[in-house]
Symmetry: C2
Subunit: 418 residues, 2 copies
């Protein structure tokens, strides 16, 4: 089936989903969860094909690990769907409402977006997560996973579709798109009018190509070149804990820190503690001359940093580091190299915190807290479809409300405009 | 100066505007208003050049009328800026806020978008309106007016820039972009990273080309193929008043009605009254066979309607018309031909109203009220930058909050993720 046909089926499903009650949607989500558990052997078997292909292709182990499904991981996917069923339904919420001076009743209601396209890489658990969130918010979804997870995704989507249908919702609420060639991604990006929004989830390259080529509106997600700025007034012990947590706790994710900025007044003291601690945690520091000199004094090797390093999201145990002359210089550095994801300051100074918060332009600005907190789960949203780094529609972790639009409803009794 | 350089200057101005206080911004808006009034002769003289050029080019009178400025119109522009100064500042509003279980303080704050590009046609009053709204919401603006209003826009922007500067804000808060060739529009559409959002205001052709070619996120505005559906349970006197108001009160605007749908049970009676009334108001009806037969019975000529008519935003004293078998058929027709702007039902039936509101997918759905009410001023927003017909970010009339994004601020006391 062509992507266009799939889009048309999705549109049709979306009109049903738009007016489906919360009870129906939640029952479908629970049925999907039960079906995933019941059909675990089938899904794990399909996944084994993907894993075998990946091995043959010489895929690195850590990618294969992300691809692999077992009964525990399938159960976790099912639990995720049950959690989504427990979240409040954003659809129908009155965002604002008033009676106008002429007596017209005006309400702005939350409504589904319609059809959402998700383009994502390796991890097959995204398939169930994304489908569940889209469905809960009343949207049909077109899922374009990577070809490396094709068998797993096919088995998961077949399971979800059957469960949706058994619950009285259209099977086409959830569809898997092609996956064999890049041509279907292109078609998805050109399906304006059929697809209301595309959300790419994955590496910087994927996101850039979708942003540049799509005529369908895109929500950019996930690239995080996050900084930790240690201010002159920082508690240096706290700063070190935050730095290590932000860099090391899970280096492969977008809210991990990629760059350290230290105020010159505390640079010697902080780096003397931080460089050995980073080394002990397995982190390679890419530093300026000042940072390297501090490394020499501590007996820690610091790699020379390049201009490119400062703009790099390593997603690994690497960090760029620089000493800055002032808060202004830190803000200017972040403005130049940051990706607008999460930026942290460690400081005991209220004026410094206030200025950093006001002047740094990012989805999340953190004071005396690790960048790792920028996360829908941590923020209490219950679930997350991604972290938007753009400014339109949604910025930061996106939960269910971010998967909706609004509609104005105006009720009169024969009102005409004078 | 290249659009790129202008974008860089705008970005720099935007960083100042982002943290400007409401007092400073309002003072600048009032200074701009005063300056427009003070420099009226200069502006009117510049406008005379545009008008003369338009005459030479054989521009139709109604376009020239929209282009023309006199002291009254300049004063109205100034009043518009003063009104914007009186509106609440959206920046800094806490959209949501909570303390997370771990003690982290989480707030979502409204922040400016940054740099907004506006691409618009003939009317030079848009120049001051758009600049005022963007500035109030803390954004720098790149204005790309039509070449036919080049002299007027140059004089207006020079006035606004001088007033901004005299008030302590950067002159580059407001910039006029090229205007001589289409090349600068293209550059604006490709200025991703420098421009945060593009808002095209004008005809369907302009909007389509911006939507298709832009890599900068776009907010689609203004195309309104609006329907009035007269339900079986309508008060037919009310229906006629609403229809006439929606079609005739100002036919050239996007919230005017372009299509009439009548339920078959009331078609004969309603059309017997409506067709002569529309004719008397100077409206040409493009109707289906049933509507034409009703016309014959009333002695009113009805032009045969084409498939294309149903999809046409006439913006003139024309209306397409069809008889439908049911509410479902009306909803299906609107789904097929509507542009998602404003759709009205006239009905005395609560279930019919409820279904129409739930099933019609548009920025505004009106019950027993004219489509002409979909308007920022009418909705009480105080001002309007346009009416979005897309679902992302903003839908319906866009006021100041729609010219902002948000930022999460997270404050802890050394919080790290376990």
């Amino acid at each position: 089936m062509s992507v266009r046909e799939q889009g048309q089926r999705a549109r049709k499903a979306a009109t049903v989903l738009a007016t489906a009650s919360r009870a129906t949607k939640d029952a479908a989500l629970r049925a999907m969860a039960d079906a995933l558990v019941a059909r675990t052997p089938e899904i794990v078997e399909a996944n084994a094909d993907d894993v075998a292909r990946a091995r043959e292709a010489g895929t690195p182990d850590h990618i294969i690990d992300r691809l692999r499904l077992d009964a525990t991981r399938v159960a976790a996917m099912a639990d995720g769907l049950r959690e989504v069923a427990g979240l409040p339904d954003p659809v129908g919420e009155v965002v604002r409402g008033t009676v106008l001076p002429n007596g017209l009743e005006l309400r702005q209601l939350r409504v589904p977006l319609g059809v959402i396209g998700i383009i994502y890489e390796a991890r097959p658990n995204v398939t169930a997560d994304a489908a569940g969130l889209c469905l809960k918010a009343g949207n049909a979804v077109l899922l374009r996973g990577s070809s490396s997870a094709r068998s797993s995704n096919t088995a998961i989507v077949a399971t979800l579709r059957d469960a949706a249908e058994a619950s009285g919702l259209p099977a086409d609420s959830v569809q898997l798109v092609g996956g064999e060639s890049h041509e279907d991604v292109k078609q998805l990006m050109r399906a304006r009018g059929l697809v209301d929004v595309l959300i790419p989830r994955g590496g910087a390259g994927l996101i850039r190509s979708v942003v540049e080529e799509s005529t369908v509106p895109v929500i950019e997600t996930g690239v995080g070149n996050c900084h930790v700025y240690v201010d002159a007034a920082a508690d240096l012990g706290m700063a070190l804990e935050i730095l290590l947590n932000a860099k090391v706790q899970r280096p492969s994710v977008c809210n991990a820190a990629e760059s350290l900025l230290v105020h010159k007044d505390v640079a010697d003291e902080f780096l003397a503690a931080a460089l050995p601690a980073l080394r002990d945690a397995g982190v390679t520091v890419h530093g300026t001359a000042e940072v390297r000199a501090a490394g020499d004094r501590s007996g820690v090797e610091v790699v020379p940093v390049t201009e490119e390093d400062f703009g790099t999201e390593y997603l690994s145990l690497d960090i760029s580091a620089a000493v800055v002359d002032s808060l202004d210089a830190a803000v200017a550095h972040i403005r130049e190299y940051g990706s607008g994801h999460s930026e942290a300051i460690v400081t005991g100074s209220q004026p410094a915190a206030r200025r950093f918060v006001a002047e740094v332009d990012a989805a999340a600005v953190l004071v005396n807290a690790s960048t790792r907190f920028t996360d829908g789960g941590q923020f209490g949203f219950g679930a997350e479809i991604g972290i938007s780094t753009q400014k339109l529609h949604a910025r930061g972790p996106m939960g269910l409300p971010e998967l909706t639009s609004t509609k104005y409803v105006v009720v009169g009794d024969g009102h005409v405009r004078p």
